[in-house]
């Protein structure tokens, strides 16, 4: 004859009704009400993006106020959605060329980061700026005046890209 072995103790009537478990569950949910809240109160509490995050691309401005960009147009060429428009011009500075006009159409930009990767001068980097909404289409096309950012603000990302992409000039400088 088949022998059945009972595993564990026989349930009492209360346990069969599930009452101890219900009380336990209610106790747990009650305790949970006083636990620390995990919600981020967004507009007041901003999200601080990690350095690896690819936000809106920005132009690096050297401490003397000039753009690092040499208007080589490599980012313009590599940009998959053709968001970047550059018009270069000659300059008296050592770098010989600089952008006369540089615009990024954020309606087109897909935040792929190829411009940053391809840039030989570390002149364009992805920033931690993730709030990209504007009230008009015109405002979403960013020109030089709104793209130029002091190098100090972008230092972390520049160092990060040096390490990440192991650019040819990163070993020498």
């Amino acid at each position: 004859m088949l022998q059945v072995k009972r595993v564990g103790k026989r349930l009492r009537l209360l346990e069969k009704l599930g009452i101890p478990e219900i009380v336990k569950g209610l106790g747990f949910t009650f305790k949970s009400m006083f636990r620390r809240k995990v919600t981020r109160q967004y507009p007041e509490e901003k999200y601080v993006a990690p350095t690896a995050a690819k936000g809106m691309p920005l132009l690096v401005q050297d401490p003397d106020g000039t753009p690092r960009c040499v208007a080589c147009s490599m980012c313009e060429v590599v940009c998959p959605p053709k968001a970047i428009t550059i018009k270069g011009t000659e300059t008296e500075r050592d770098i010989e060329r600089e952008p006369e006009e540089f615009s990024i159409d954020m309606l087109r930009c897909i935040l792929c980061g190829l411009c940053e990767e391809v840039c030989p001068k570390e002149a364009i980097v992805m920033s931690d700026r993730l709030e990209l909404a504007q009230f008009s289409r015109e405002d979403l096309v960013f020109h030089m005046d709104r793209l130029m950012t002091p190098v100090d603000q972008l230092r972390k990302r520049i160092d990060f890209t040096k390490e990440k992409f192991d650019k040819w000039h990163s070993r020498s400088s």
């Binding site: 209610l26 949910t29 006083f34 809240k37």
Partner: protein, 350 residues
């Protein structure tokens, strides 16, 4: 009817009705707040301080929303159903005494809008009328999910109403009255809590509590609107203020059920006989009201608390529990109540 009586009546009408409607609105906020806390969120906190104006904002939103009536819907029943749900739920408030009776010019006035001798029956009758709204809504929507929801709801209400009524019957046997005021305050004397009248009162409380959850279509018995299975159940096709009316009905029913629980089992506005000694009946009524609201508020919180704790029952489990567990228990309990009254430990009856 004297002028004072008319004033008193008007005051009670506006005061209590406004109270219940406000409570029902606040309960929608409380539901979202408590659920948020249990899930470690903040809940609505943008509209007004602490999100207190959220129900108002929701109401305005509901009014401005487009009313959609499905093409194949039964026009009359579809429009009637929300009113059929909200109406009886709000009507049942009329017989709930919110505090001790007030003595005015040597006459005692019960603090319910309508002091009827069969208040218990009125509430139960109106409670069972609510099922028609749900059923009509499910049927008239011309949607199989709505119909299933309505079907489930009606079967569930019919099953659990038996247990509910029988547990009330046991309490009525103990207290010997159908008047809700007399349940806690009879002949100038405070009555003991029925919950503490062991064993009949305690068992009746357990059965009534479970059946009340089923009767108000709340978790864990909300099979009528099981989102995961039936989209939204009977109110799937409803929009705008009609949708809101279903919810006003549901929350008003919750308020009524909480009040009923507090009166029938926790002695309503009594506080261990402390308040009954107060000479000034108005002061006594005011303090009693606070105590009563605290007791009823606890049950309202319990309704929400349980919702976010216990998962939904399966359909057959629900029926099993209603017919094979609660019904026999409450039937036995009625018999037991008779024994308890005869033995004199129930100190009820005439």
């Amino acid at each position: 009817m004297t002028l004072t009586e008319i004033y008193l009546m008007g005051g009670k009408l506006i005061g209590f009705f406004g109270l219940v409607v406000t409570l029902a609105a606040l309960l929608t906020l409380a539901e979202r707040k408590v659920s948020a806390w249990i899930q470690q969120r903040y809940g609505p906190n943008r509209v007004g301080p602490w999100g207190l104006l959220q129900p108002l904002a929701d109401g305005v939103k509901f009014i401005f929303k487009e009313e959609v009536v499905p093409a194949g819907a039964n026009q009359v029943l579809f429009r009637l159903a929300p009113a059929m749900t909200a109406g009886p739920a709000l009507l049942a408030v009329a017989v709930v005494p919110f505090t001790f009776p007030v003595v005015l010019d040597g006459k005692s006035y019960a603090m319910s809008i309508a002091d009827v001798p069969i208040a218990v029956l009125v509430i139960l009758a109106l409670g069972s009328l609510q099922v028609y709204g749900v059923l009509f809504g499910g049927w008239a929507s011309n949607n199989k999910y709505s119909l299933l929801g309505g079907l489930r709801s009606s079967a569930q209400m019919v099953s659990y109403e038996l247990a509910l009524v029988l547990s009330v019957l046991a309490v009525v046997t103990l207290t010997g009255t159908l008047n809700l005021t007399e349940v806690f305050y009879k002949d100038g004397a405070v009555q003991p809590w029925n919950l503490l009248r062991f064993p009949v009162g305690t068992i009746a409380f357990g059965v009534f509590l479970i059946a009340a959850f089923a009767e108000t279509n709340r978790h864990p018995f909300d099979l009528a609107e099981a989102e995961t299975e039936l989209v939204g159940g009977f109110h799937t096709e409803y929009s705008s203020m009609k949708f809101a009316l279903f919810f006003i009905g549901e929350y008003a029913a919750m308020v009524t059920m909480s009040c009923l629980l507090a009166i029938l089992f926790l002695g309503g506005p009594t506080l261990f006989g402390l308040l009954a000694g107060i000479e000034d009946t108005w002061l006594r009524a005011l303090l009693g009201f606070v105590v009563f609201m605290a007791k009823a508020g606890f049950f309202m919180f319990l309704f929400i608390w349980v919702r976010w704790t216990i998962p939904r029952f399966r359909w057959d489990q629900l029926m099993h529990m209603g017919w094979k567990v609660l019904l026999p228990i409450s039937l036995l309990n009625v018999a037991l109540a008779g024994v308890q009254v005869v033995l004199g430990t129930g100190n009820g009856g005439a």
